[in-house]
Symmetry: C2
Subunit: 212 residues, 2 copies
DNA sequence: TAGATTGTTAATCGATTAACAATC
DNA sequence: TAGATTGTTAATCGATTAACAATC
C-alpha cells in the first residue's frame, strides 16, 4: 500500500487534539475490523458526537490526506494515527505500586494494543514480590537497578499512596526514564528532562457533580 | 464560624476550571491537616504549578471571598469548594462491572471523602455475586430492580467490556439515574436527561507519547 | 505605613467553528 | 454531471493572562 503522508509536527498539535486521537484510533480500528475500507470525517464525527470540522482538523495533524467525496482510507488512517502517537513502536514501561489501581492498569488490554509493554511492576508488599500480576513480574523496590539494566525503559506509571509517592519516584530519576504517568494526588518535583502527566480521577466526578 | 459566600453559578464555571477544583480541595484539606488557618492564591499556585491569577479566578467561582494581604480562610475555602462541587452531600452511586478497574474504583478512598457512596456493584460473574468487594456487595444484573427500590441512586459507574457496555447501560435508563461515568471505550447512546462523562485512560498516555 | 494579596476589568492567546474553493 | 467531502483561510468563541485599583 502506498501511504501518502505530509510532514508531522507533534509539538504543533494542541493538547485537546492529542487527547482526542486515541478515540479516533479506537473507532477506526473497529471500522477496519468490520470490513470498512474508507471512512469520512462526517461519519467519525457522528459516531463520537463531535463536529465534522473538528475531526478533519484533528486528523490533519497526523499528516493523513483524504479524498474529497470519499473520505479517508481506513488502513492509512490507522497507520497515520499510530505513527503520530508513536504507538507503532514498542515502549518499555514499569509500573510502581501494584495496589488495586496498579493491578487494574496491568490488566488494561488497550495499553498493549498501543505499544505499551509493561516489563515489570514494583511493590513494597513482600506477599506480592516474586509473583506475576496479569502476567507481569512483581519486584521489590531493591531490584530497580537490576530491572533497568540494559533495558531502555522510557516511563514509569506511579500508583502509590500519597505519602510515599515523591520519595519512591525519586529512585527512578537517574534510571533514564523520560516520563512519569502520575496517578497519585501529589504534584511531583522532578528534574528537567522528565515529563509528568498527572491524572486526577476525581476531576471527571467533579464535572458530573457540577454539570448534572 | 461565619462563612461569607457570594451566589454560586455552577453552569457559569468553565469545564477546565471545574476539573481543577478537586486538586485545590485536596491541597487545601492537607493544609488544614497541617494546621494552616489561611492560605493565599500564590501559595496554592506554587504548590500546584499554576499561575496565581488562574487560582484566584478558579476559586472565585465557588463564591469564596478572600482577604487582601492575607489570603483565604482555609476552612471557609474547603467548605466553599465542597459546596460548589456538591461534595458536602452524600451521593448514592452504583458500580457496573466489578472487573479489575471496577474493583480499583471500589477501593479508591478519595471518592468516599468526596461524598460518593457506592451502595452496590453489579457483575455477571456468579463467582463474585453475593460477595463483598472492598466492602461493597456485588449483585447479579437481575437484582437491579431490588437494589434501586426506594433509594435515590444518582449515578452509575460503567466499567464493562466494550461489547456489553451499551446493552448493560440501558438496563439502568429508567431507574432514575441522572449521570453515567463511562470508563468504557463506547460512545453511549442515552436518553435526554442523563449526562455522560466519558473517561479515556489512553488520552493521558497519548499526551506523554507525543509530548515527550 | 509599606507592601502583599485580592478581585475586577481589559487584553491576549489559543482552540473551535464557519465559509468556501478544490476535487473526486 | 451533481453533490459530498476534503483542506485551507478567516471569523468567532472562550479560556488564560495581564494590569491595576482596592484593601487589610
Amino acid at each position: 500500500m502506498d501511504i501518502q503522508l505530509k510532514e508531522v509536527d507533534r509539538k504543533g498539535a494542541s493538547l485537546p487534539t492529542v487527547r482526542r486521537l486515541p478515540a479516533y484510533l479506537h473507532l477506526v480500528r473497529s471500522a477496519w475490523d468490520e470490513g470498512m475500507k474508507v471512512i469520512s470525517g462526517t461519519v467519525i464525527a457522528n459516531e463520537l458526537g463531535l463536529e465534522p470540522i473538528q475531526v478533519r482538523k484533528d486528523l490533519a495533524v497526523t499528516g493523513i490526506v483524504g479524498k474529497p467525496r470519499v473520505g479517508y482510507n481506513v488502513l492509512e488512517l490507522i497507520h497515520a494515527l499510530e505513527n503520530f502517537l508513536r504507538w507503532n513502536e514498542k515502549h518499555k514501561v514499569v509500573l510502581v505500586g501494584a495496589g488495586s489501581l496498579g493491578t487494574a492498569l496491568l490488566g488494561y488490554p488497550e495499553f498493549k494494543r498501543n505499544g505499551m509493554e509493561i516489563v515489570a511492576a514494583f511493590d513494597s508488599n513482600p506477599e506480592k514480590v516474586g509473583k506475576l500480576i496479569n502476567g507481569t513480574p512483581v519486584h521489590s523496590m531493591d531490584a530497580i537497578e537490576e530491572v533497568f539494566k540494559n533495558r531502555d525503559i522510557e516511563m514509569i506509571i506511579l500508583c502509590l499512596p500519597t505519602e510515599v509517592a515523591q520519595q519512591s519516584a525519586e529512585k527512578f530519576f537517574d534510571k533514564g526514564i523520560r516520563a512519569i504517568w502520575n496517578f497519585t494526588n501529589v504534584k511531583l518535583k522532578v528534574p528537567e528532562g522528565i515529563k509528568v502527566q498527572k491524572e486526577d480521577l476525581s476531576s471527571g466526578y467533579a464535572v458530573l457533580s457540577v454539570r448534572t
